[in-house]
Amino acid sequence: MTEQVVTSTHYTSDASGLRSIAADFSSDRQAFRNVSWGKAMMWIFLLSDTFVFSCFLISYMTARMSTTVPWPNASEVFALTIGGTTLPLILIAIMTFVLISSSGTMAMAVNFAYRRDRRKTAVLMLVTALLGAAFVGMQAFEWSKLIHEGVRPWSNPWGAAQFGSSFFMITGFHGTHVSFGVLFLLIVARKVWRGDYDHEKRGFFTSRRGNYEAVEIMGLYWHFVDLVWVFIFAFFYLW
């Protein structure tokens, strides 16, 4: 096989905008220049997952609009009584704050990962995992409070049965995403801490060499889960 004539598309670095996109897509080997396989895969997975959450949320909206019984009032249902005052949405405000803060620590972890600062990266990832776990914990508290008040997937004391079913299904599905995120954060943080990515240690299952990009890919997932929460928050608690 001769290697001297390679008929690939010539790249000019001054291409910009649509032109550069067209140039990328008409090149050989890669449609997205300098995007690693792992990152491309995560982006496409997130696109697919977007469709899952969209279907959940649209189904919830349909259920809410087509049910014949009134929908429970969110600001009463999700209120906490602290020291005698009833504060609407207080728990959910704290949960949202915690999760969004965790995106901040995740972004910092990515930054330090590319500076190859092993320690700070691992610590920040652990903080992210901790915030994520706190979020899941508060969600468990919210679930148990609602269950205590008589909310079930099939009924609730205040109105449409679909309230409970949609609530447990959608927040449960999101909480599962957060929990898996925490798990993988811990795994990646451990690898960072051990220095696996400094000497490109091979993965246990895949036997692929790891590198610090794993932190960024983890971050993509984490920010996505965070973004989804914003929509769940808006459509479930504010509507």
Binding site: M41, F45, S66
Partner: protein, 593 residues
């Protein structure tokens, strides 16, 4: 189009893409069972899918026996009949066609055709197969649970899917079906991500997107669509599972069952139909697009003619893929949804006919003045075109609201979609197996048996499904266990049903010849050599046949031209392989775009 010269030799791409660090198997188990090699995974996928296909084939026999000779087979009661329908449909659509085209052909052909050593994430790819196998086992297990498999119809419409009276509705059947679908989707997502990323990011040097064989384009587009369509089914399955197991009312309206009001309220059965068909319609094209791609390559190779209008073929694939996401409610004209929706969805449905017609014309123009070799793969490819046109034309009938309303839920629908989605893709699968079997095993399939298999299958399929159109126009409903007592059914319809049944048994038996051929030719087939069809695409240029782990030996191939340089004037052979350097036309003229 931006002016990027495809044939330019000015820029030599730096080897800036990571070479795959292949996982090297250490034992027999990691080499042949828990293998991370896409080719072994492809064979595993195909074997399981074809086995499920045989089960589904037997189920169709049982249904036909009941329809052809009602009352003769006492073990096929109404419940059993609905269970056969449901399992036959779901198995064929999801566990056979989708798995075979994407998991089977996708795994085998994508890395070879684009010049990669393997999929980008072989470990995830391996998981994909084993999860698929788990899904199949869960599905098949439902034959052996109390109450048997679900008999809800393959579309699983609630509320009847989970109420008393439907087989499996209050037993294990529907639960196992839904869980199996969810597991399948998880497994497919792992595979689908691999196929998409491999095509986008792991091609050989010189392999631009517009030099890829149409097979790869078809499988790639279908995989991408599946990643966006399966979520809707996943969500629908989760919600129905909760309705069944937890007693929620997502899809359950207030209703009376066996004289007793159910403890359900306010759910929307239409919501499930929307979710199901948002998956279900793209699913049709998830099966059809790989078939389109493969058939393009078969026709071009066996007519020794470059594909006509390559660029338009690619754009048509993409246009069909995009449009298929906004036509789903044409399955729901009689469901009671807002009638204005019908207007919109009928329009988009008919628009799909345009890119589809482009493809059919291009296939015919590829054949025009071609040097047509009527070997077995080509016979199947030609049969596909005819069958697809047939099924597509009846699709125009059903796509129009006013025509669909009287035809809906008749045998006409059964005939239409078996032609377009059953027979047509399966003809391509057969053609593709005859075409690529020599690469997979190093031996040719037996030609005589192949021709016998083809003619019985092709003519038989028409003898089965053409009369069904007629039955449908007479108003014979589908999914009826027994139509004997209806006044409008003439005696001739019963004779026709018996005829269809006998042909179906014969066609089914002919598939045994195919299965026999697959195993017999493994040892006794003619030695194929590396490139028996004198084809241009990269998989035929591997240094060894069958290709070993890693596909390419020491050096990855370098691509110099598109996939369709057949009968090039002045060339010393009648084809120029994609990795053959030299001054010839490097790409199709860009004029069409």
């Amino acid at each position: 189009m931006v002016d990027v010269p495809l044939g330019s030799t000015a820029g030599v791409a730096a080897p800036d893409v990571e070479d795959v660090e292949l996982y090297h198997p250490h034992s027999w188990v990691t080499k042949y069972v828990f293998s991370q090699d896409a080719k072994v995974i492809a064979i595993q996928y195909s074997f399981v899918a074809l086995s499920v296909g045989l089960i589904a084939l037997v189920l169709s026999w049982l249904m036909r026996l009941q329809l052809g000779f009602p009352g003769v087979f006492s073990f096929i009661d109404a419940n059993a009949y609905y269970q056969f329908i449901t399992m036959h449909g779901m198995m064929m659509v999801v566990y056979v066609l989708t798995a075979l085209f994407l998991g089977g052909f996708g795994n085998y052909l994508i890395p070879l055709m684009i010049g990669a050593r393997d999929m980008v994430f072989p470990y995830v790819n391996m998981l994909s197969f084993w999860i698929y196998l788990l899904a199949v086992l869960i599905l098949v297990a439902s034959f052996f649970v109390p109450g048997g498999p679900t008999g809800a119809g393959w579309t699983l419409y609630p509320p009847q899917a989970i109420t008393t009276g439907t087989p499996g509705g209050q037993d294990w059947g529907i639960i196992l079906m839904l869980v199996s679908l969810m597991v399948f989707i998880i497994g497919f997502t792992m595979g689908g991500l691999n196929y998409v990323v491999t095509v986008l990011q792991a091609r050989a040097r010189g392999m631009t997107l517009m030099r890829m064989p149409l097979t790869v384009w078809g499988i790639f587009t279908a995989s991408f669509m599946a990643l966006l369509a399966f979520p809707a089914l996943f969500v629908g399955a989760v919600m129905m599972l909760f309705d069944r197991v937890l007693g929620t009312s997502f899809f359950m309206p207030a209703m009376v069952e066996m004289g007793q009001p159910l403890d359900r309220n306010g759910g929307s059965p239409l919501l499930f139909q929307h979710l199901f068909w948002f998956f279900g319609h793209p699913e049709v094209y998830i099966v059809a697009l790989p078939a389109f791609g493969i058939v393009s390559d078969l026709i071009s190779t066996h007519a020794r003619r470059n594909i006509f209008g390559y660029r338009m073929m690619v754009w048509a694939l993409l246009a069909i893929g995009a449009l298929s996401f906004i036509v789903w409610a044409h399955h729901m004209y009689v469901s009671g949804m807002n009638p204005y929706f019908g207007f919109f969805f009928a329009t988009t449905t008919l628009i799909i006919a345009i890119p589809t017609a482009i493809k059919v014309y291009n296939w015919i123009l590829t054949l025009w003045r071609g040097n047509i070799h009527l070997n077995v793969p080509m016979l199947f490819a030609l049969a596909f075109i005819v069958t697809f046109v047939n099924g597509g034309l009846t699709g125009l009938f059903l796509g129009n609201v006013v025509v669909d309303v009287p035809l809906s839920d008749t045998m006409f629908v059964v005939a239409h979609f078996h032609m377009v989605m059953g027979v047509a893709p399966i003809l391509v699968i057969f053609g593709a197996i005859y075409h690529w079997y020599p690469k997979v095993t190093g031996r040719m399939l037996n030609d005589g048996l192949g021709k016998l298999h083809f003619w019985v299958t092709f003519l038989g399929a028409y003898a089965i499904f053409f009369p069904m159109h007629y039955l449908g126009l007479m108003g014979i409903p589908r999914r009826y266990h027994d139509i004997a007592d209806m006044a409008f059914v003439p005696p001739s319809a019963h004779t026709l049903n018996a005829f269809i049944t006998i042909v179906a048994l014969i066609v089914g038996a002919a598939q045994l010849a195919f299965v026999f051929n697959l195993f017999w030719s493994l040892r006794h087939g003619k030695e194929a050599g590396g490139n028996p069809w004198r084809a241009t695409t990269l998989e035929w240029q591997t240094p060894e046949t069958p290709p070993p782990h890693g596909n390419w030996g020491k050096h990855l191939p370098v691509v110099h031209r598109w996939a369709y340089d057949y009968s090039v004037p002045g060339a010393d052979q009648d084809f120029l392989a994609q990795n053959q350097p030299g001054p010839t036309r490097a790409a199709p003229e860009a004029g069409h775009g």
